[in-house]
Symmetry: C2
Subunit: 189 residues, 2 copies
């Protein structure tokens, strides 16, 4: 069975969006069609066998329908205790699962040898990490300080040790990949 990858773009000050949830261009690098950023984006897509997202990413409220375009032609597991009335009729295969553990387990099962990739939001990322479900973390670190927004790693996260696996360095974004090694030992100081 495949591994679980947390894959998110984040500002230098740790935000996944800007003030009031504004789009601050953290995924601009993703739009390119050639070069190292496009290669890396393609690698993530190709290595992903299932996507896991929070309900807020799918869309808030009973009338949210998700979206009908995605580079990820794999099942999208949405963690929610309140499925929407209907998902998009488009080609995206949305599946609604109650509980983070359950959604990640279902995604791993569906992903086969590929990754179950957690794409956010921050609440889901943090819960999955704190439940010990995440094998690898990939941060696309965008060289901007936004000053406000949603922190990827909100205060209160459990402590974790990681080890760097790879860095891909481009002018637009620095792609940092880590393996999660285990809980952080309590204060060394």
């Amino acid at each position: 069975m495949g591994k679980v990858l947390l894959d998110m773009a984040v500002s230098l000050d740790g935000y996944i969006d800007g003030p009031d949830g504004a789009d601050v261009g953290l995924y601009d690098w993703y739009a390119g069609t050639s070069g190292p950023n496009a290669d890396l984006a393609a690698e993530v897509v190709d290595s992903t066998g299932a996507v896991v997202i929070g309900r807020g990413v799918f869309g808030r409220g009973d009338d949210a329908t998700g979206w009908d375009e995605t580079p990820y032609e794999v099942p999208h597991f949405v963690v929610t205790h309140r499925p929407p009335r209907a998902a998009s009729a488009g080609p995206v295969d949305f599946r609604f699962v109650e509980g983070v553990r359950e959604a990640v387990a279902a995604a791993r099962e569906a992903a086969g040898d590929r990754y179950a990739t957690i794409g956010g939001g921050a609440d889901l990322a943090r819960q999955a990490l704190d439940l010990g479900l995440v094998d690898e973390v990939q941060l696309h670190l965008v060289p901007v300080i936004v000053g406000a927004g949603t922190l990827l790693f909100a205060p209160g996260s459990a402590g974790w040790r990681l080890s760097p696996v790879r860095v891909v360095d481009t002018p637009e974004v620095t792609h940092l990949r880590y393996r999660v090694e285990g809980p952080r030992v309590a204060a060394e100081g």
Copy 2:
């Protein structure tokens, strides 16, 4: 006149220390005597012509005396409106300056062609950034999630655009160097 470098070690979740200010090993990489981390530490020391620190880094209270060992054999400017009774009698040249602008200006003057290097704490780093005094930022990104402590980039920072200058990637820490390009344009989204 030289440039101003903000140079700090930070956890993956953006902290410069751990819960209750605990030492969580963010400068462990600095202790080595050979290899890329030692080379990089030496480079920072060699390229630094003056150090700027906040009062809390020097030590809190009237009786703090700073320290008497440092690899930085250059003037140390301490930003404070309340100088301590006495600084260490040791070889470190502590100078007390009221005001961030004034301390950074004095450090640049003293640094000559080398960098005036801001070594923290977070309040000073953030004030210097927000005053537009910082030319380059170097983050020593340690692969650990600590979950609590002092955030380097506390919410409320002004927005800034940066551009990556260099990455030095080691198993212990990823050294990310940026140039500050200017204020961030308001929400693009």
